[in-house]
């Protein structure tokens, strides 16, 4: 058993729902007890979708368990088909139905419905949401794709690709797709099919007509893309175009797959200059802790390090399936990779790292709030705020602009940082007021109380001096000074110890 306070991912059938809900004419019949319908509100509330997810839940009860739950499933599947007239159906079990082993696939087959019915085996007790989405997309693709489709490029003379991976309830998928579609068009590549987002069953069939695949979200589309590479000889992209550098690399990769010369991109957006302009000097070496799904975390680390000049002081992901990528990236930044889906472990790693900025999920946003550290969200799990009304991609050159704004705005700005150092007791601008640009007077930093009840004590004068250090670095100063004192067996921290430690750790 795993003790979970919060989870980064839902169960695998929620992943399957994200695929079905993203698509136009696919219906999902889920063998599930009452209550599992909560998952509908993820889509209708968080993503503000204007239609119910295309999911029928069989809703069996305790008293049905001794009787005939299989019959309930068959009736629900038949009714769903008759009512919604989908072009393809997926059928499966949620965690509870998995235990009663009714075999939804077999039962649905026995109904002999006039549309393709794809059975899903999503083991709820070993797998999670992203895996469930990937497996569902793979099974749909495998069943529906036309292996002998004529290549579109043969007719048009222009190379064509599919964009694979965007789903319902995806972190900025809506806007990434628009940005990358435009980019592909700009460099002379046609987009054949975008899937699963807004795809119909017929679109999945047509996937084979493209020359290659663009995988935007490996967590979702990697399994299907590997199969398509093997079976239909469609190569796929490995670079995720998040950040200016990665977008350039992605363009080169696409051009190579398309057989085009690498195009020269004149305008790579504002981000490069914004980052080089002297106002950004204060960003230099900001200690940044990064956690999210592997793809977004690794991409964020590159942007943070190479494009904003931050220092990556922590890097991790919650999806073990892609841990290898995070381990490789962690080596580049000389940090210990954090591979865990335990929210409490992430919290303590962040507290230990004492970062000046956290780039994480909504969970880390909360952790950062508690620790008084600025934070920006870079990855799912999603929250209603991750579906902004405006266009805000993460990918491509516009995405890089968005990253600059969203990561930099939570920080205390350059001159303000200096002024806070110099004039600490200004009645309006001080610790308790928080950073002036954050809605004015947001939550003030909770100073972590020293955890150790060991023998190290603070001389009152040193304590007072510590208070003169601005709140956004005070935690680090306290920790450094205490470590410094502990290493030297200093029992009473004086003002000198404080400055000795500052000199020792000074950057």
């Amino acid at each position: 058993m795993q003790l979970a306070v919060w989870t980064y991912e839902g169960p695998p059938h929620v992943g399957a729902m994200r695929i079905a809900t993203a698509m136009k004419d696919v219906h999902y019949v889920l063998h599930a007890p009452q209550g599992d319908t909560y998952a509908d509100l993820l889509f209708t509330m968080i993503e503000r979708r204007d239609a119910r997810p295309p999911v029928t839940y069989t809703t069996f009860e305790a008293r049905d368990l001794g009787a005939d739950t299989a019959e309930i499933f068959k009736r629900a599947a038949k009714d769903a088909h008759d009512r919604f007239q989908p072009k393809a159906m997926i059928v499966g079990a949620s965690c509870t139905a998995e235990l009663i082993q009714d075999d939804p696939g077999g039962l649905a087959k026995a109904l002999a419905l006039p549309v393709p019915v794809i059975p899903l085996e999503l083991p709820s007790y070993t797998r999670k949401e992203n895996w469930g989405a990937a497996e569902t997309f793979y099974q749909l693709t495998r069943t529906l794709v036309d292996r002998n489709a004529e290549k579109k490029s043969a007719k048009t003379g222009r190379p064509s690709c599919n964009i694979l991976g965007p789903t319902a309830l995806g972190f900025r998928h809506r806007d990434d797709v628009r940005e990358i579609s435009a980019l592909l068009n700009q460099i002379g590549v046609d987009v054949n099919v975008i899937a699963p987002m807004n795809a119909s069953a017929a679109d999945i069939t047509a996937i084979g007509a493209a020359d290659f695949n663009v995988v935007l979200y490996p967590e979702i589309a990697d399994t299907a893309a590997r199969w398509l590479e093997r079976e239909l000889k469609q190569p796929f992209t490995k670079i995720t175009p998040i950040g200016v550098g990665a977008t350039h690399d992605f363009i080169a990769e696409v051009a190579a797959l398309a057989g085009l010369e690498t195009p020269q991109i004149g305008n790579a957006g504002n981000m490069p200059w914004w980052s080089r302009s002297i106002d950004s000097t204060y960003l230099t070496g900001k200690r940044t802790f990064i956690f999210g799904d592997a793809t977004h975390a690794v991409a964020a680390a590159r942007v943070a390090s190479k494009e904003l000049g931050f220092e990556v002081c922590g890097l991790g992901c919650y999806n073990r399936e892609f841990a290898r990528d995070v381990r490789a990236a962690a080596k580049l930044y000389d940090v210990e990779p954090l591979i865990t889906d335990d929210y409490l472990a992430v919290e303590s790693a962040i507290a230990d790292a004492q970062p000046e900025l956290v780039l994480g999920t909504q969970m880390e946003r909360h952790i950062a709030k508690r620790l008084g550290i600025p934070c920006a969200v870079i990855s799912a799990p999603v929250h209603v705020q991750d579906f902004p009304a405006r266009y805000a991609p993460q990918m491509g050159f516009e995405g890089a602009n968005v990253l600059f704004d969203t990561w930099v705005h939570p920080l205390v700005m350059g001159l303000e940082e200096h002024l806070l150092h110099m004039f600490r007791d200004d009645f309006e601008f001080n610790d308790d007021a928080g950073a002036s640009h954050l809605g004015g007077h947001g939550a003030s930093a909770q100073e972590p109380t020293p955890e150790t009840d060991n023998v190290i004590r603070w001389d009152p004068a040193a304590e007072k001096e510590l208070k003169k250090i601005p709140f956004f670095v005070r935690g680090k100063a306290r920790r450094n000074t205490e470590n410094y004192a502990a290493e030297r067996r200093i029992q009473l921290i004086s003002v000198d110890t404080l400055y000795d430690a500052k000199a020792h750790y000074g950057r």
Partner: protein, 426 residues
């Protein structure tokens, strides 16, 4: 997949037809009750023994994630726990040890059963007994089921309170005492305490209490008022311990609150004059503030999808005090005895429905085109997109709505969506 059972069946008290359906239910399971119960009982902790789905439900249930280390968690059953129950029990014990070491402030721990734990027949009653031996008297360990195969949404609170009934100390004082049963907002509890005291009923106790050390004693001289309509099992167990239920409508709206308080006043032999003098002011205040809401809502039609079992008392309030027109009043479960007084107050021929086949019910709702549809979060935006105005049912559970001072707030919850629709020009 609807099975229509005795669709012409009449309730004994009134001629209200009941449509009974089964099919897809768009409702929460009983685990969701933890969302308010863990706030109400501040030294209690709820450990769901379930799947990743349960954990995911809990963080999504309130519509948005609540971020704070909560007083609930999930022991997620994994593959190896399914291999053998002996191991699952051992794993559970370890999980509880870890949890209690981490949270020494916990005084009452609920092991909460889920669909998977029920299906694999993990005996949480036994586990609670076993663990109690190790942790008593510091921590009391109880169990109940919040599973979707057994409970719907608010029935989770019923199951939780029912598990506590055997723990309530015996009242040996011989003095008559009044117990108010069902979680209420603290502010509502305080208002009722003051009113009861002024009426002349001292020492009113509330169940659940805010602290685990403070369990109300019960005995043969205990009378209880249900503050919530979904507490069938809790009431039954209180009765087996000798307590007597005071039948009454529920304290929603002026009429419901008056009748509810009056049921207690009658049992205590308080004279009408005294009773009237106490409630006169708050009652007048409530009636005055209801005026404004009535102007906005009178004559409008309302359709209830089943959610919390509060639907019938709410429908009674909206129809009798606000003048709204009832179309269909759906409820997940109809407890005819506890709702007898409510059903008697409903207009004749109100279409009731029990259970749900959501697609059929949506068809009916679209047919009726009500001015307001009261529904769950999974249905609200889709219905709005179809042009129907909706009210999130869950807000009615998470907002103080009982008593005189909240009567207008309750009406306002229904007026707001209509008000918003009128304001918007986008």
């Amino acid at each position: 997949m609807t099975v229509l059972v005795d669709s012409d069946c009449k309730t004994s008290a009134q001629s209200n037809p009941i449509l009974r359906e089964r099919g897809q239910r768009e409702v929460f399971c009983g685990l969701t009750g933890i969302v308010w119960l863990h706030r109400k009982m501040q030294d209690a902790f709820f450990l769901i023994v379930g799947s990743r789905t349960c954990a995911h439900l809990m963080q999504s249930a309130a519509g948005v994630m609540i971020f704070a280390e909560p007083r609930f968690a999930t022991a997620i059953i994994e593959e190896r726990d399914l291999a053998g129950l002996a191991d699952a029990n051992e794993e559970l014990d370890k999980t509880v040890q870890r949890l209690l070491a981490r949270r020494p402030d916990i005084k009452l721990l609920f092991l909460v059963g889920s669909c998977p734990s029920e299906v694999i027949k993990l005996d949480l009653a036994r586990a609670a007994q076993r663990l109690s031996k190790s942790f008593a008297p510091k921590v009391r360990i109880l169990n109940y089921s919040g599973s979707g195969i057994e409970t719907t949404f608010t029935q989770g609170e019923d199951a939780c309170l029912a598990s506590m009934v055997p723990e309530l100390p015996e009242d040996k004082s011989g003095e008559p005492s009044l117990l108010v049963v069902g979680a209420l907002a603290d502010i509502v509890e305080d208002q009722f305490s003051r009113l009861f005291e002024q009426i002349g009923i001292p020492n009113v106790q509330f169940f659940p209490s805010r602290s685990a050390d403070d369990l109300p004693p019960i005995g043969k001289n205990t009378s209880f008022l249900l503050a919530q309509p979904f507490l069938g099992e809790t009431a039954r167990l209180l009765e087996t311990r000798g307590a007597q239920r005071l039948p009454a409508p529920f304290p929603l709206g002026v009429e419901g609150t008056t009748a509810w308080l009056k049921a207690a006043a009658n049992a205590w032999g308080i004279c009408q004059q005294k009773f009237d003098s106490v409630i006169e002011m708050p009652r007048a205040r409530a009636e005055k503030s209801l005026e404004r809401q009535r102007a906005a809502l009178a004559g409008k039609s309302v359709f209830f999808f089943p959610d919390s079992q509060l639907e019938i008392p709410l429908a009674r309030f909206l129809s009798r005090e606000i003048g709204m027109r009832l179309t269909e009043v759906g409820t997940p479960y109809l407890h005819k005895i506890h709702l007898k007084e409510e059903l008697e107050l409903l207009p004749e021929n109100t279409q009731l429905s029990e259970g749900q086949d959501v697609d059929r019910q949506l068809d009916r709702c679209r047919g009726v085109q009500p001015d307001i549809s009261v529904c769950g979060l999974g249905l609200a935006n889709p219905l709005e997109a179809e042009g129907l105005t909706t009210k999130w049912a869950i807000e009615l559970v998470f907002t103080p709505i009982q008593g005189f001072e909240q009567a207008a707030d309750l009406a306002e919850l229904f007026a707001r969506p209509l008000n918003r629709r009128m304001r918007l020009a986008v």
